[in-house]
């Protein structure tokens, strides 16, 4: 009897261990799904990094938008620089880091600003410092990865997302915009944004968006979310919907006003109050949801799996094997 029972037990045991590739129904609860909870706990403990870069000529409200996105004073402007700082003669790269916390989750947010971009009389090659910075971050990560004794968690300073601010001329993209996006859409996720969109009426905004989209298509500029990286049908349809709305026409503000008894972020003009989070007024809410609430992790993944891998492959091919660029005191491996 017991033998039979044992056999029976054994058989049961073997059934549950067996994994059929078609996805079999399990005969008992194992607890595989608790892995999500474990991951969540781990993530909450370690926190994660997010690096966002803002590019555009001065005066388009970049810093204000970043502050509005993360609902705190995180931009360079608020870290002690004055409002009427002189325009620098060349493009500079300034980054400011903050740790913000929400719901127990810690995020180390780095905002990289590019003052001086597009502000000079002669803007030739003003994208070069930016391209160099992005590649430098990739290089840093690559070096860490290639080390023999690696750190447990490599600090990630790679730029995950680049918000490109398009001035609301109402006509079309400028030459500078096209040049920049063409050159950088292969090394970083570019999200074009129409700045200060409270300049345009709703019809003007629609027309402008269509024209911008057409020009982006004509020039072969793949902005994030790129069509070629859609994993499945569901992804594709979600991303298609988002791509239809891009570029987002946004308005930023860090001042609050009272509207209909609620306190909202907005801008007060003599003819009305522009509510930043009202989807009828501007598309800030959609941008925020897209950027933070749904695609934040995807941005990091695309940066890591695609842009970084492209850079890495190129570097390894170029050198015929990886040689250390500078010899450090840490041990380097010779692949």
């Amino acid at each position: 009897m017991t033998k039979q029972h044992e056999n029976h037990r054994d058989m049961n045991f073997s059934h549950t261990v067996l994994k059929q590739s078609g996805g079999s129904t399990l005969l008992g609860y194992i607890g595989i799904d608790t892995i999500i909870e474990q991951m969540r706990k781990k993530t909450m403990k370690t926190g994660f990094d997010f690096n966002i870069m803002v590019v555009g000529p001065s005066g388009l409200g970049k810093s204000t938008l970043v502050n509005t996105l993360f609902k705190s004073q995180v931009s360079r402007k608020s870290a002690g620089w004055s409002r009427d700082e002189k325009i620098p003669k060349t493009v500079e790269i300034k980054s400011v880091s903050h740790v913000i916390e929400e719901g127990g989750v810690k995020m180390k947010l780095t905002v990289v600003d590019t003052p001086g971009f597009g502000d000079q009389i002669n803007n030739d090659n003003c994208w070069e410092p930016i391209s160099k910075y992005i590649n430098e971050q990739f290089e840093k990560f690559l070096k860490e990865e290639v080390n023999i004794t690696r750190k447990k968690r490599i600090p990630d300073t790679r730029v995950h997302c680049c918000l490109y601010f398009i001035p609301p001329t109402g006509h079309s993209l400028r030459q500078l915009d096209v040049e920049f996006m063409k050159r950088l859409s292969h090394s970083v996720n570019i999200i074009p944004v129409i700045a200060k969109s409270d300049t345009m009426t709703v019809e003007e905004r629609q027309e402008f968006k269509q024209r911008v989209r057409k020009e982006l298509e004509m020039n072969g500029i793949e902005f994030y979310p790129q069509k070629e990286f859609d994993d499945d049908i569901e992804d594709k349809s979600d991303n298609d919907k988002i791509r239809e709305m891009m570029p987002f026409a946004v308005v930023g503000s860090d001042k609050e006003y009272q509207v209909n008894g609620k306190r909202v972020l907005g801008r007060k003009t003599a003819w009305g109050i522009i509510e930043v989070e009202n989807p009828n007024h501007c598309e800030f809410a959609q941008l925020r949801d897209f950027l933070i609430r749904s695609h934040l992790q995807d941005l990091k993944e695309v940066t890591h799996n695609i842009h970084y891998e492209t850079y890495r492959a190129k570097r390894l091919n170029d050198n015929g094997g990886l040689h250390p660029i500078t010899s450090n005191d840490t041990q380097e491996s010779n692949l």
């Binding site: 000529p57 001065s58 005066g59 388009l60 409200g61 409002r83 009427d84 325009i87 502000d119 000079q120 009389i121 002669n122 803007n123 030739d124 001035p167 609301p168 001329t169 109402g170 006509h171 400028r174 030459q175 500078l176 040049e179 200060k196 409270d198 300049t199 009426t201 709703v202 801008r267 007060k268 003009t269 003599a270 003819w271 009305g272 109050i273 522009i274 509510e275 009202n278 009828n280 007024h281």
Partner: protein
């Protein structure tokens, strides 16, 4: 200086202003306005709003709708009449300014244009026959500043520095409905500070003896640079029809002085200071140009005279002779050109006619060929048909013979001849 004397009776020269007025009205006025700024700042819309005409309409789209690679200077003229007074308005537009990636020297075509207008005027002033002296000098230059909210861009500063001595520069803040009132105030202050820092001489409103006017002028001065919004679409607001821009959060009215400074600009430009702008152009900028030009000529000697126009000390008769000769030469050239054009046109027409004749001939041939082909086809068909018919008849005969043969056989059978 004469003493001032009091009159004992009414002489009547108080009507002098009226006479001047009537003469001027008959003559009509001219005004040339230049607009400079990056594309997309609403220059064309503002021009349309200022003069309530559609200078740039859908049939004749403004420069902004055309793509250009270099800075161009384009002129459009329009004649507007109001209350019996007619104004020949010339708008000089500068599409492509500040739009390229490298904008160094994008102001050069503009400076060249202004100088060439001055030169034309100088030449026509120096002629003996000065009856028709068209004044195409630029009387005012509206410079559009993008509403960044921070300050002037390097391009703005460079441009204004180079042009403030050649033309009346009036800086404007374009698309001012982007800025809240506080931002606008700060921005204006910042701009004025930078203008003073770089010693840019923008157009200054003259001080008058009239107290009332002085107060108005001071009010305008406080609001410099003027922040404008342009629109020609009419919207209903509280039962009134106003020009404005409709947003989901409200309507920005163009002519409401709380919303923007458009009315101030229009009043200043057209209603009060138009003549002053022309005077300053004539007395200050033009004189600067002229003195510089003449000084250069006398310094460089005689052979520059031929290149730079007749500024020599010839006798008036000789000059007249030269002018007449010039005129005759010009006429001759025009005549030759017209003849050439005429010949060319005639040749074209002859060629066209020849071509169409050849075409017709060809078609005729083609049709004839088709017809013959069809004819042949039909012949062929008929032949085939005849063949068939003869075959069929043959067959019929054969059949008939067969039938006859079988019938006789039957008959014989019946008759019992064959067992």
């Amino acid at each position: 200086m004469g003493q001032q004397k009091n009159l004992d009776g009414y002489v009547g020269f108080a009507s002098l202003p009226n006479q001047v007025y009537r003469k001027s009205v008959k003559r009509g006025f001219e005004f040339t306005l230049m607009v400079v700024g990056e594309s997309g700042l609403g220059k064309s819309t503002l021009i349309n709003s200022l003069f309530l005409t559609d200078l740039y309409s859908t049939e004749y789209p403004g420069p902004s709708h055309r793509i250009k690679k270099t800075v161009q200077v384009e002129q459009s003229k329009v004649l507007i009449k109001e209350g019996g007074v007619q104004l020949l308005l010339t708008i000089v537009d500068t599409p492509g300014f500040g739009d390229a990636v490298d904008n160094s020297n994008c102001w050069q075509p503009i400076i060249d244009h202004i100088d060439s207008k001055f030169e034309d005027y100088l030449n026509s002033e120096s002629r003996v026959n000065r009856r028709q002296m068209p004044d195409s000098r630029i009387h005012c230059c509206l410079y559009f500043i993008a509403p960044s909210g921070h300050g002037l861009k390097p391009l703005d500063i460079e441009f204004m520095k180079r042009l403030h001595e050649k033309v009346n520069v009036i800086p404007l803040i374009a698309k001012a409905d982007t800025l809240t009132p506080e931002e606008c105030q700060q921005f204006k202050k910042q701009i004025m500070r930078e203008i003073q820092e770089h010693k840019i001489k923008i157009y200054e409103f003259p001080e008058t003896d009239d107290e009332e006017e002085n107060r108005l002028v001071k009010k305008i001065k406080d609001k410099l640079p003027l922040a404008v919004v342009g629109s020609n679409t009419i919207i209903e607001v509280n039962g009134k029809r106003v020009r404005g821009r409709q947003y989901p959060w409200g309507v920005a009215e163009v002519e409401n002085s709380d919303h923007c400074d458009f009315t101030i600009l229009r009043d200043m430009l057209i209603r009060t200071h138009m003549q002053d702008l022309k005077d300053v152009t004539n007395n200050v900028h033009y004189e600067n140009y002229r003195s510089r030009k003449l000084a250069a000529v006398t310094y460089n000697g005689v052979d520059n005279n031929k290149a730079k126009g007749q500024l020599s000390t010839k006798s008036p008769l000789a000059q007249m002779e030269e002018e007449r000769r010039e005129h005759v030469a010009k006429m001759k050239k025009m005549e030759m050109e017209m003849e050439q054009v005429f010949e060319m046109k005639v040749k074209e027409k002859v060629q066209k006619l020849k071509d169409s004749e050849a075409e017709l001939q060809r078609r005729h041939e083609q049709m004839k060929k088709n017809l013959e082909a069809q004819h042949k086809e039909l012949e062929e068909k008929r032949r085939v048909f005849e063949d068939e018919r003869s075959n069929w008849e043959l067959q019929q005969r054969l059949e008939q013979q067969k039938m006859e043969a079988s019938r006789t056989l039957e008959k014989n059978k019946k008759k019992g001849k064959i067992f």
